[in-house]
């Protein structure tokens, strides 16, 4: 069958050009690689080669023609035995460009099919609101025995259980083995699992994070520990460019099923370079899942889920919480799904939304407010990607007032995102603007008095609640 030769584009932005010169004439036989014509734009000239072999049937555009649109047929190439009449038939049959064969999500987005349903949700792959009904099932069956455990022990149990369960899971990081963990999360694990699976690294975050991602590509399930997330900035290129994006870039062929974990946020008096909360940074990245637990039960159940998740998961712990004790269900295999918030306290008057150590301030504020007759509902998001929007919506519909609480910087915070989402999706339910309580817009100071001022406090939350309840 005759083939159309189309006006080529010299660059991705070129729309039209000049057919400067034909180097073949009708009736010439050409083979792949022969130069057919010279094409020009205002920026460049290109020799245009044949890719098929055949006989030049008809030159459709004359030499010297300007403004030839990209993809316009400029000549017909005849296969062996064809004559010029075949050429004109083919030309009219393929006037329409071929239909795009894109898959579901892309073409939907382009046509805006989902736009009416849930505008904010449709933009985000993991945050899609699948059901308007929040999942309010208890995290463990009523009547289950619980044991008291620190967050540190809970994390250690989760790692150990998953390492028992899956041989491909291994832990890697600075001082995780012989030193027993800089914060003792991995205490005893080297003795139990050996150096093949508890891997001490040099101080080479960029290198070992990349090695972790490569190992995940290769079929392992790495847990990469950062001594703190401040040092993950050395490695953030691999977290985002290598781990988060590869599934997408490979068209779904391969990704990085792994966990990056370690303490995040301020410890105590360690100054600006060691005291940053990265929750909002990582939560901004499609391709990552982001977890920030508050209780020991959540730390355990969510870390087990994170290790099993087929995606890169950022697991943000907190040094100050490591030693706090909570009830943890005594179950052989306890997991908590991602995207399911926990209503830590039921209430009618205002919704406090928080996560991680912010929960400590939110709960303390709720206690103080109860004393003043204000009944606060406190929601622990637990995962920031995905976020449990149905739970938020349900609560806003009830209380009509929201205050968010987090330790991070105020600009482009998780609270900012929640405010926007609530405004877009629950505007009619709001009786007051949403207020974001955050850390102050300053690097963390070292001095004890200034550090106290820089951090978000329960009193600031109480103050914000008074504003949104007009009391």
């Amino acid at each position: 069958m005759a083939t159309e030769i189309l006006m080529p584009a010299l660059s991705p932005t070129m729309e039209e050009g000049t057919l400067a010169k034909w180097l073949v004439k009708e009736g010439d036989t050409v083979k792949s690689g022969d130069i057919l014509a010279e094409i020009e734009t205002d920026k460049a000239t290109m020799e245009f080669e044949a890719v098929d072999e055949g006989t030049v049937g008809k030159l459709l555009v004359a030499e010297g023609t300007q403004g030839v649109k990209v993809n316009t047929p400029i000549a017909m190439l005849l296969a062996e035995g064809e004559d010029a009449s075949a050429a004109s038939a083919a030309s009219s049959a393929s006037a329409e460009p071929p239909a795009r064969t894109g898959t579901g999500e892309n073409s939907k987005d382009e046509k805006g099919e989902d736009a009416g349903a849930a505008p904010a949700a449709a933009r985000s792959a993991v945050e899609a609101v699948s059901t308007p009904e929040p999942d309010e099932s208890p995290d463990w069956p009523r009547g289950t025995a619980v044991k008291q455990m620190t967050v540190r022990e809970a994390l250690r149990e989760a790692i150990a259980e998953e390492m028992e369960r899956d041989e491909t899971v291994f832990l890697m990081g600075e001082e995780v083995g012989e030193y027993q963990g800089a914060y003792k999360i991995s205490q005893g694990l080297l003795e139990r699992f050996g150096p093949r699976r508890i891997v001490d690294t040099p101080i080479s975050e960029m290198g070992f994070a990349g090695i972790g991602v490569g190992a995940a590509f290769g079929g392992l399930r790495p847990i990469v520990e950062f001594m703190t997330f401040n040092f993950a900035m050395q490695a953030i290129d691999h977290i985002i460019n290598s781990a988060a994006k590869t599934l997408y870039m490979s068209g779904g062929q391969m990704g990085a099923p792994m966990v990056f974990r370690g303490p995040n946020g301020a410890a105590a008096r360690v100054g600006a370079q060691h005291s940053q909360d990265y929750a909002a940074w990582y939560a901004a990245i499609p391709g990552l899942k982001v977890v920030q637990p508050y209780t020991a039960a959540d730390a355990k159940g969510l870390l087990k889920t994170a290790i099993r998740d087929p995606n890169p998961v950022i697991f943000l712990e907190n040094e100050i919480l490591y030693g706090r004790t909570f009830d943890v269900p005594d179950l052989p295999d306890f997991t908590i799904p991602f995207g399911k918030a926990r209503v830590a306290r039921k209430g009618r008057d205002v919704t406090l939304i928080s996560f991680g150590i912010g929960m400590a301030h939110a709960l303390e504020a709720a206690e103080k407010l109860a004393g003043d007759g204000i009944d606060a509902e406190v929601i622990d998001l637990r995962t920031l990607r995905p976020i449990d929007y149905p739970a938020i919506l349900r609560s806003v519909q009830k209380t009509n007032r929201v205050v968010t609480v987090e330790e991070g910087f105020p600009v482009a915070s998780i609270g900012n995102h929640l405010s926007a989402w609530i405004m877009e999706n629950a505007f009619d339910y709001l009786d007051a603007p949403v207020i974001n309580c955050t850390g102050k817009d300053v690097p963390m100071p070292y001095a004890a008095n200034l550090e106290r001022l820089a951090l978000v406090t329960a009193d600031e939350v109480v103050e914000a609640v008074r504003k949104v309840t007009y009391r």
């Binding site: 027993q180 001490d200 101080i203 080479s204 410890a267 360690v270 100054g271 300053v442």
Partner: protein
């Protein structure tokens, strides 16, 4: 390429005696090294004490044991030279002439501190003394130091920058990116690897198969050598050589200082990664201050009484700094909001 025989600090060296190479050292120089090293030691001991009393918070990394490194190198520096280091920075600040009061008050987070209480132990600076910090991210000071050298080369002066980092930091990738550019551009930077043989609890053996760290410069064409960092005279001599190389416009130089920290990595340290005997042996046999003390006494440069007088003088400085650091008030609350942005662009310098 310069090479001197490796003399690792842990090598079973004989107790230092006056027979060490003191030919070119004056009595005044020796006394100055003694005084400067002793000031660091006593200051750090006091800092440890204040930490124990809760007056210092967060991380606090003491320099005890490594004093000869900074004191020897400062002796090779001239006015205008720059220095930059990690969080283990108190010794560097005292050695380059920063006031004990201002350093101690920063440790307690008070207004009188070098960063007005906002930086803390790991983050202190002095423009006046050309001390560029105090950096908490392991390895980050290495390109920064090369950048300081870049600025001097750009301006066309003959200053050099002493860029200090640890054996652990040597495994950060940015160190090698920096080596490459520093040699490529002949930057006047001395890379001082303070090889105290441990990065927190990781001994050098457990983090690399390289036998030396200075040798890694070879791949980039940077000369270097290993130096007995417990011997202030050896440090000074090596410093002179490195400085001459840099000032002559020949590019960077690497000094791998074999040294040892007596205390834990920071104030909390499980101390399980090395034996008590190992530490004691270093203290007994290789202590840098004791070394100079013996040189002074055996060379009859000073009497026990002279040295006692110095001890007392140092003790007074340190106690005074501690008193100052306790009495200095906390920074004003308004300080929370200052120093986030500089006010206005300075006028451009004419080309």
């Amino acid at each position: 390429m310069a090479r001197s025989p490796a003399r690792p600090a842990q090598a079973a060296a004989p107790a230092p005696t006056a027979s060490a190479n003191t030919a070119n050292v004056s009595r005044d120089d020796l006394l100055k090294y003694y005084r400067d090293m002793l000031l660091i030691r006593r200051f750090e001991e006091k800092a440890g004490q204040l930490y124990g009393m809760g007056l210092i918070g967060g991380f606090c990394h003491l320099y005890i044991g490594q004093e000869a490194v900074v004191v020897g190198l400062e002796a090779a520096a001239k006015e205008g030279d720059k220095r930059i280091t990690s969080y283990r920075d108190h010794g560097h600040m005292l050695a380059c002439g920063m006031e004990a009061r201002g350093v101690m008050a920063e440790l307690t987070g008070r207004e009188g501190g070098y960063s007005r209480g906002k930086g803390g132990s790991m983050h202190m600076f002095s423009k006046e003394k050309h001390f560029y910090g105090g950096h908490g991210i392991v390895g980050a000071q290495v390109p920064l130091g090369a950048g300081l050298a870049f600025s001097d080369k750009y301006k066309g002066n003959d200053n050099v920058t002493f860029t200090y980092f640890g054996d652990g930091a040597s495994n950060q990738g940015q160190v090698y990116e920096t080596y490459n550019m520093a040699e490529l551009w002949d930057l006047p930077v001395i890379f001082v690897i303070e090889n105290n043989q441990y990065a927190m609890g990781t001994s050098m053996k457990r983090s690399t198969k390289s036998t030396t760290l200075y040798g890694r410069g070879e791949a980039f064409g940077i000369p270097g050598e290993q130096v007995d960092g417990m011997d202030v005279l050896a440090v000074k001599a090596a410093g002179d050589k490195a400085v001459a190389h840099c000032r002559a416009g020949k590019g960077p130089y690497i000094l791998e200082m074999m040294t040892y920290r007596y205390r834990g990595h920071s104030m909390s340290d499980p101390a399980k990664y090395r034996t008590r005997e190992e530490v004691q042996k270093m203290r007994d046999e290789r202590d840098a201050i004791e070394h100079v003390r013996q040189l002074l006494l055996q060379g009859k440069h000073a009497t026990e009484d002279d040295l006692k007088a110095i001890d007392k003088e140092i003790k007074d400085i340190v106690n005074d700094s501690a008193d100052f650091a306790r009495e200095s008030p906390e920074p004003a609350e308004s300080e929370l909001w200052t120093d986030i942005y500089a006010d206005a662009d300075p006028a451009p310098q004419t080309a």
